[in-house]
């Protein structure tokens, strides 16, 4: 594209689209817009999902392979890198759109398979087996015999609002966002509404914070707006550090301008001229995308001084976190931004009164912020129509674990957990039985199958001990040991405890010790430790209650959650570990004793070769034996035996 062409497009988009409140266009504008949105293309366009998960699966290699293919076949095509569509199990993903045809999606588009796929598409022949669906595009002809993306089980029950552009538009091109109505809300807000009015609209919409206790966002903003101070700050909390939660990363990488626009509106609403994005240090790719987005927004005049000639100044700075779980807590985050150790402080005073550098500060998480532009564009009534009363809007989750499909999803509040597990995730893979759904990672809870009829909502989740702020949803099958999982979470929390208050610092350590005792190898135990193990269960419950009631911040208050919830629903597993010394899932290596069934063993010698401890003896074609004293219970022999001759007790 020539530079004058780029300027023309920029002016067209700002004048005809951003400044057009109604969203209704004349024919000529609509036609140009369709071209920019690539609803109608004149040459083939190939889209590659280049979010972090795609890149890990090899999307960059796919990109190069496609580039080479186009060059060799002398095809004049456009190659666009997009964010993650959310279906992580299908990565790397490639979409192809031929002129006059709808856009189709391919899964597992690895570099070796790309040529086959593209050959099939370009010759309009039978579609490749990896084609999973096509997009709805009214202006073009559909591919026969291919389902629509929105009919796939993974997408059918989703209600994609804030994720509607991710995986579809180019995150590196502001024009893509503008052509879909981007920054129109900011323009409308800054020129037409007073900050009070914005707070009122957001309050009417019923939007509640997605990151913590679910406080109404509009009310929180009013508090900061009414706090008398000449300097205020808005902080967008993108320090998503729960292991297993990456939905905000997908949003930032796939549709960064939605977040930038939301921040600008929020900053205007509370009267802040300076905003920070505190992004997790591991999100290198997200950081890059965000930096580009901010740069473009500044060039287009949506950020900076006197935006749209209104006299409003808004600047956004990016700060990288430094790998501390606790910095997801707002007061700890503020301390970290001030250049101190990220330890939380007591509330009140709330940050809305006295926050960053002692000035009123609002901390909102990425998801809350991303909802703002669409609320201002479509009005509070529209937002209220999604979800249930008191629980309006949608919620994004990262769905992982032993489900058939995993990825990032967005559902309307009020959806049942069972719908997510059985419809969106497609149930448990390999025909195993569902044991539980873990919601929220280390500070979250385990939900047994009997509670899956619970609706997603603030109060309904609270009833089962969970919270809407928990974004990681992990499906556990029968092979998961709840005690081992609790121990894993406790290890994480113990390491990440900031050390400021005693209940959390010492309590998590003691809880971990109890869990370690419970899973210790029976042979290595002395009499005193046996007594400790027997007392473990009572002590766990007592300790958990003390930690929950007396810790300073949310991290500590929620730290006993995994143990308490698994004790509540899976108590018999703890009892088995403590009294019978067995682990039914076989995950606690120390409690396993392996044996070889002499009738089934064919003497293939595989286990003998694989055993890292040389604990298996036996000659070829003769039954083998395990020397109990040498066996560490790693289970490598169990996994490698083709004749199911190895079993454990």
């Amino acid at each position: 594209m020539t530079s004058s062409g780029a300027i023309q497009i920029k002016e067209f988009l700002i004048e005809k689209v951003v400044k057009n409140y109604s969203g209704l266009f004349d024919k000529a504008t609509a036609s140009t817009l369709a071209q920019i949105k690539r609803e109608k293309v004149s040459r083939p366009v190939i889209y590659i999902g280049m979010g972090t998960c795609g890149l890990i699966a090899g999307a960059d290699k796919t990109f190069k392979a496609v580039e080479k293919y186009l060059h060799e076949k002398k095809i004049d095509g456009e190659l666009v890198s997009v964010g993650c569509l959310g279906l992580c199990t299908a990565e790397p993903m490639m979409d192809v759109q031929l002129p006059g045809k709808t856009r189709i999606s391919f899964q597992h588009a690895t570099e070796e398979k790309v040529e086959d796929m593209l050959n099939a598409v370009f010759h309009h022949t039978l579609l490749h087996e990896n084609a999973i669906g096509q997009y709805r595009m009214p202006l073009t002809e559909e591919w026969p015999g291919l389902t629509y993306i929105d009919q796939l089980p993974f997408f059918a029950l989703q209600r994609r609002n804030i994720l509607r552009n991710t995986g579809i538009i180019s995150p590196l091109d502001i024009n893509d966002y503008l052509a879909r109505g981007g920054y129109r809300s900011l323009f409308k807000t800054v020129l037409n509404y007073t900050p009070e009015k914005v707070c009122e609209i957001v309050d009417q919409s019923g939007l509640r914070g997605r990151g913590g206790g679910g406080y109404p966002t509009g009310k929180k903003w009013s508090m900061a707006l009414n706090a008398g101070s000449d300097q205020k700050y808005l902080i967008c909390n993108a320090d998503e550090s729960d292991p297993g939660a990456f939905m905000e990363r997908a949003l930032l990488e796939g549709d960064p301008h939605r977040v930038v626009e939301g921040i600008a509106i929020a900053a205007y609403a509370i009267g802040a001229s300076k905003a920070y994005i505190y992004i997790r240090s591991e999100y290198n790719h997200g950081l890059l995308v965000l930096q580009t987005a901010l740069q473009q927004a500044r060039e287009y005049g949506f950020l900076g001084e006197n935006i749209f000639g209104s006299g409003v100044n808004i600047s956004i700075l990016i700060r990288q976190g430094a790998g501390a779980f606790i910095c997801g807590e707002e007061t700890a985050l503020i301390a970290s931004l001030e250049g101190k150790r990220g330890t939380p402080s007591e509330k009140p005073p709330y940050p809305a009164e006295k926050g960053l550098f002692g000035h009123p500060t609002i901390v909102n998480n990425v998801e809350t912020i991303a909802n703002i532009p669409s609320i201002l564009e479509n009005g509070p009534a529209w937002f209220k129509s999604i979800g249930t009363s008191g629980n309006t809007g949608t919620k994004i989750y990262s769905l992982t674990g032993k489900g058939k499909y995993s990825g990032v999803i967005e559902i309307a509040l009020g959806t049942k957990l069972s719908d997510i597990v059985y419809s969106i995730a497609g149930g448990v893979k390999n025909g195993k039985k569902l044991k539980a759904v873990q919601l929220g990672g280390p500070s979250g809870v385990c939900i047994p199958p009997s509670q899956l009829e619970t609706e997603i909502g603030f109060e309904s989740l609270q009833e089962i001990g969970a919270s809407l702020s928990f974004g990681g949803m992990i499906i556990l099958d029968e092979d998961t040991c709840m005690v081992n999982l609790s121990k894993y979470f406790m290890e994480f929390l113990q390491k990440e405890s900031c050390g400021k208050c005693i209940p959390c610092r010492e309590g998590t350590k003691r809880m971990l010790e109890i869990l370690e005792g419970v899973t210790r190898r029976p042979k290595e135990e002395n009499s005193h430790e046996t007594l400790e193990r027997f007392k473990g269960m009572v002590q766990l419950e007592n300790l958990a209650a003390v930690i929950r009631d007396t810790s300073l911040c949310g991290l500590g208050k929620n730290a006993p959650n995994p143990v308490l919830s698994s004790l509540k629903w899976f108590r018999e597993e703890y009892e088995e570990h403590i009294f019978d010394r067995i682990c039914r899932a076989g995950e606690c290596h120390n409690l396993r004793t392996f044996y070889i069934d002499v009738d089934l063993c064919t003497g293939c010698n595989v286990c003998h070769k694989k055993c890292p401890e040389n604990a298996i003896i036996g000659s070829v074609k003769m039954p083998h034996f395990i020397i109990e004293q040498k066996c560490t219970g790693c289970g490598i022999c169990f996994d490698s035996c083709k004749f199911s001759a190895i079993f454990f007790k």
């Binding site: 972090t52 890990i56 699966a57 297993g244 990456f246 990288q320 430094a322 990220g342 992990i474 290596h589």
Partner: protein, 154 residues
């Protein structure tokens, strides 16, 4: 070293404490790790005691005080990776690399780090060696990877 520190420090206003983390991050990105000299250089610029700076740097997981190995192994130990057996992988890594997590081998060839979550949960378990990702790792695949690095002539 001095030149690097003063070049980075000149970008940040003196006495502004909030610049501490970005300064340390930028220095570490270029130098790979932090040293006592670096911390005292930063201390002079920000007018903060060295022990305060050390306290901050030691608090965050990101900062390290020794150089990494030439082959830096990062094992993801997120919930999903845990479910798919990353604990076994950790044992294997420690055994074959002959170092504990968080350490560097004596010849400086290998270092091992356990990371909370890399966000590649659908491809668990994952490890990263320098900039290369390996997904759906099994103990056997891991042994092969380690062997390939051990055999590498330098």
């Amino acid at each position: 070293m001095d030149e690097l520190v003063s070049r980075i420090l000149s970008k940040y206003p003196p006495d502004k404490k909030e610049g501490l983390l970005p300064i340390l991050q930028e220095i570490q990105a270029e130098n790979g790790f932090l040293t006592e000299e670096i911390l005292s250089g930063v201390s002079g610029h920000l007018n903060l005691p060295v022990n305060k700076i050390y306290g901050v740097a030691a608090f965050y997981n990101q900062f390290c005080f020794h150089p990494r190995g030439r082959y830096h192994f990062q094992l993801c130990h997120g919930t999903s990776c845990h479910l798919f057996g990353s604990s076994t992988l950790l044992g294997e890594l420690e055994k074959h690399l002959k170092i504990k997590a968080g350490n560097v081998s004596r010849d400086g060839k290998f270092s091992l780090e356990v990371v909370a979550c890399m966000g590649a949960c659908s491809q668990a378990p994952v490890i990263r060696v320098n900039e290369t990702w390996h997904t759906h790792i099994t103990p056997e695949a891991l042994c092969k990877i380690i062997r390939s690095f051990k055999d590498k002539k330098e």
